[in-house]
């Protein structure tokens, strides 16, 4: 293949889509960060941010290869095929006339891998050791996400000759990752929350979101980025991308409005946290379906998610697990709604003939969807359990009770999220952690100073 065959328009769209999807992880950091108490906002954000670092590196080393390398029995790709990105330069992928550089596809999918892992962190707010999260994120990416992405996203002959079993054998539709990403992360969140245990005071102490403007910022940027996620998954600037774009708009609208109606009816008031949550629930639900349903179908799917998810939130109180920021209620439930709904709403003219139940297609596709969804859920749950237990009984998953009371920002990161006070709360020592120790500067040590007067001048 030569550079001449590259379609610059399609490439431009996937390039910007990749950047949009990458933005979703900081957006998630704000969405999650605003929901916790102010004493753990930094830790909450850091779990997403550090995941961007870890997964990016794993991805170019061997992760992309595990997901898109030539398949070993449909289960996992050959980790060596593209190790360290070898063999990806000057290569194009895609249908004739619409080819894009393989490296652009690598980047686009990297952003998916990152956010899948970061999503899980919502379950563990306020109480997980940061070191344990780093180990968890690494293991979970390698053992759970890379294989699952292979199952769902690796189509035969696209990057490598043979791809994953759900995409090619089961033939479940999952356009942009309802199974590999949302069901996967949601199932992991459930298991991890169970192993980790509840936050201190869960169910008795108020744990209000500390900054709802930050939550809304996260939701707004997520919506924006999700156009790259869904419409970018067309891997070209074409009518399919346009359909996915519109569906990403209206399903989200439907879910948000439905969530607000549920709240109004049940709790008495429509809330901004509800709107933000509804946005995310709608985006999750339309993710697998965005290219296989009509805009009216998308509204229906969104509305379903906007009803099912808020109702599902009470499950955590019922069953007593503490999925702090409702990854299960939003991503697992929303992902299931969307993935299964394809079996109901798929329109033959959009899918190349396969129609859902409501469009006269019978139960077959619904069955395929269910297999895809539950396979990922089961695998994710099981392997997550093993990883979580392994960490628990080695380095430990959870911070000490004292640290949890003080807040993980200070104890894990030695930082404080906000300091709006005009009162300069003083400190005895401000000291440079020196690095180049040739001629040490003397830190001002107030304990040895002898007169208030002198100090007053220095600290003026």
């Amino acid at each position: 293949m030569t550079i001449l065959e590259l379609n610059t328009g399609d490439t431009a769209w996937v390039l910007i889509s990749a950047a949009l999807v990458l933005l979703m992880t900081p957006a998630l950091a704000f969405f999650y960060g605003g929901m916790v108490r102010s004493k753990s906002v930094l830790n909450m954000m850091m779990m997403s941010i550090v995941t961007m670092g870890i997964v990016s590196i794993l991805w170019v080393l061997f992760g992309f290869s595990m997901s898109f390398g030539n398949s070993w029995h449909g289960f996992v790709g050959n980790p060596l095929q593209f190790a360290g990105m070898k063999g990806t330069f000057d290569t194009l992928v895609g249908p004739e006339g619409h080819q894009i550089p393989l490296l652009v596809f690598v980047g686009f999918q990297a952003a998916f891998a990152i956010i899948a892992v970061a999503l899980v962190s919502g379950a563990v707010a306020d109480r997980m050791k940061f070191s344990a999260w780093i180990v968890f994120a690494t293991l979970w990416a390698v053992l759970v996400y890379f294989p699952a992405a292979h199952w769902v996203f690796a189509f035969d002959g696209f990057v490598a000759e043979r791809g994953g079993w759900i995409a090619n054998q089961v033939k479940a539709f999952d356009f942009a990752g309802g199974t590999a990403i949302h069901i996967n992360a949601g199932a992991a969140a459930l298991v991890l929350a169970l192993v980790l245990g509840k936050r201190l005071g869960f169910g008795t102490k108020p744990m209000r979101p500390h900054n709802l403007t930050l939550v809304m910022l996260g939701a707004g940027l997520l919506w924006f980025g999700w156009f790259g996620f869904n419409a970018g998954s067309a891997l070209g600037a074409n009518g399919l991308a346009g359909l996915a774009w519109i569906n990403t708009l209206v399903a989200t609208a439907g879910a948000m409005l439905a969530w607000l109606v549920v709240e109004k009816v049940r709790d008495g008031h429509p809330t901004s946290l509800g709107a933000a949550s509804g946005i995310v629930a709608g985006l999750v639900a339309i993710t697998p379906a965005c290219a296989t349903v009509t805009p009216l179908g998308a509204i229906a799917i969104g509305a379903l998610a906007g009803i099912a998810c808020p109702l599902a939130l009470s499950l955590k109180t019922r069953f007593g697990y503490d999925d702090a920021l409702d990854v299960v209620g939003v991503h697992l439930v929303g992902g299931l709604v969307g993935t299964l709904a394809i079996g109901l709403f798929a329109k033959g003219s959009l899918t190349g003939g396969v129609a859902g139940l409501f469009y006269g297609g019978g139960f077959e596709q619904l069955g395929r969807q269910a297999i895809g969804a539950f396979a990922v859920m089961a695998y994710s749950g099981l392997v997550t359990l093993l990883i979580a237990l392994a960490i628990k009984y080695t380095i430990g998953l959870r911070v000490s009770t004292d640290d949890e009371v003080s807040g993980v920002d200070i104890t894990e990161h030695a930082e404080n999220g906000y300091d709006f006070s005009r009162v300069g709360y003083s400190s005895y020592r401000v000291q440079q952690t020196l690095v180049i120790p040739a001629a040490p500067v003397s830190p001002v040590d107030f304990e040895t100073t002898d007169a208030p007067a002198r100090i007053k001048e220095e600290v003026k």
Binding site: K205, V405, S406, I410, T411, A414, E415, N416, Y425, S426, S427, Y428, R429, V430, Q431, Q432, T433, V435
Partner: protein
């Protein structure tokens, strides 16, 4: 009439509130404060610069009480707020010349 002021751990406030309410105290005023004392502060590090933060978040509770109830209220607060670790805080009592309920202009014990 007495004014009872208590400096307590911020996380224990709910417990104190409940205890006081159960004892029959119908009102209190709370504000935020920072204490510096035996309890060690923490260290923060920003870009390699280390700050020792000596001031620790505390809740400040003020309760107006009649003379006879004051001692018992101090007792209730101490019982509720005691965890046994450094930083549990202080309670002090002072005598007031006058208390007025703004809404009704009632004064003295009636105003409490």
């Amino acid at each position: 009439m007495k004014l009872i002021t208590a400096i307590v751990q911020p996380t224990i406030l709910q417990t104190v509130q409940v205890a006081l309410a159960q004892y029959g105290v119908t009102g209190m005023t709370v504000s935020e404060a920072s204490g510096f004392a035996r309890q060690r502060g923490h260290t923060e590090v920003y870009r390699g610069t280390e700050y020792t933060i000596d001031f620790i978040s505390k809740a400040r509770i003020e309760v107006l009480a009649t003379d006879e109830k004051a001692d018992r209220i101090v007792q209730v607060i101490c019982d509720a707020a005691r965890t046994g670790s450094v930083g549990d805080g202080k309670v002090w009592v002072s005598t007031l010349d006058q208390v007025v309920r703004i809404r009704t202009s009632e004064t003295g014990d009636d105003a409490i």
